[in-house]
């Protein structure tokens, strides 16, 4: 598989062309990896909890740890009101985590390296949290833009700034994940080109860098999933408890 261009790894390839009523719903490599991520998550959770013993086996420990990790995150950042959103945040975290990690397999495709995928996830979070905020607090939700303890003459400026920064939440949420994934994989592809270009004599230098970079990419994959989930919890907390 000759890649002349480091950005070629992000190309969407149709595997099963499908058109329904003029809309292109083909099965692409993105689809395959999304389904693979979901299948792996489901297998991991259902098979690990099969034995359901009080003293957990190793796999069951891992499944319970992931459950507790998200449960604690929600309890700390949202409080009791957030418990009903646990399935959503857990699914979001596991999906982003598995998609990020699957992308680290050589010759695979990183689902979250496309802005449209991360934007879809961030838009769901943003619109959902805004709707929840208005349902819970009515018009009082707008008090989110008026922090307490602000002198009155600064209020118009502060409200505008707060409102604009609220509107940039879906953008920052999506671009953070997208840019981390895309930049990481692009750097790996570029240095891979250097390894081939420099040949046997000097090719070990970019190779050593790639080894270190893959380690960093593992950390970033897990960290970005964690950051996405915890920011969702923080935004949800803003919707529930409007007085900061």
């Amino acid at each position: 598989m000759e890649h002349h261009n480091p950005l070629e790894q992000f190309a969407i390839q149709r595997i099963v062309p499908l058109h329904i009523g003029g809309i292109d719903v083909s099965i692409t490599n993105s689809t395959v990896f999304m389904v693979l991520a979901i299948a792996l998550i489901t297998l991991f959770l259902t098979l690990s909890m099969r034995s359901g013993s009080l003293v957990p086996t190793r796999w069951q420990s891992m499944a319970e740890l992931s459950y507790e990790f998200i449960g604690n995150m929600i309890r700390e950042n949202v409080g009791n009101d957030g418990r009903r959103y646990f399935p959503f945040i857990f699914s979001l975290f596991m999906f982003v985590l598995f998609c990020n990690l699957l992308g680290l397999i050589p010759y695979s495709f990183t689902v979250t390296s496309h802005i449209i995928v991360t934007f879809a996830l961030a838009a769901v979070v943003f619109v959902g949290v805004t709707i929840i905020g208005f349902i819970r607090n009515g018009a009082g939700f707008l008090r989110l833009f008026v922090p307490s303890g602000v002198p009155v003459f600064l209020l118009p400026l502060i409200v505008v700034i707060e409102f604009l920064s609220y509107l940039t939440r879906p953008i920052s949420l999506s671009v953070r994940l997208f840019a981390n994934m895309m930049a990481g994989h692009t750097v790996l592809a570029v240095f891979g080109g250097f390894v081939v270009g420099l040949g046997i004599l000097a090719g070990w230098m970019p190779l050593a860098f790639i080894v270190a970079m893959i380690g960093l990419e593992f950390i970033i994959a897990i960290l970005q999933a964690y950051v996405f989930a915890i920011l969702t919890c923080i935004y949800l907390n803003d919707a529930f408890h409007v007085h900061h």
Partner: protein, 75 residues
Amino acid sequence: MDAAAAKLIGAGLATIALAGVGVGIGQIFGSFVSGALRNPAAAPKVFGNVLLGFALTEAVALYALVIAMLLLFVF
């Protein structure tokens, strides 16, 4: 100045943002280390916040990267 040259200069100027990001990340971990040396028992509890702060600051660097990419390849 033609558009192609301006794009390249603009993309180069966008990397100035990385200076602020470098200072910010250094600040986060510096204050964590300083706090951990004074109160080692509390260090694991706050490490989650350290990672969150690091990721949020790193994101700003990536916004600058996105702007540079936009300038080079989209406009």
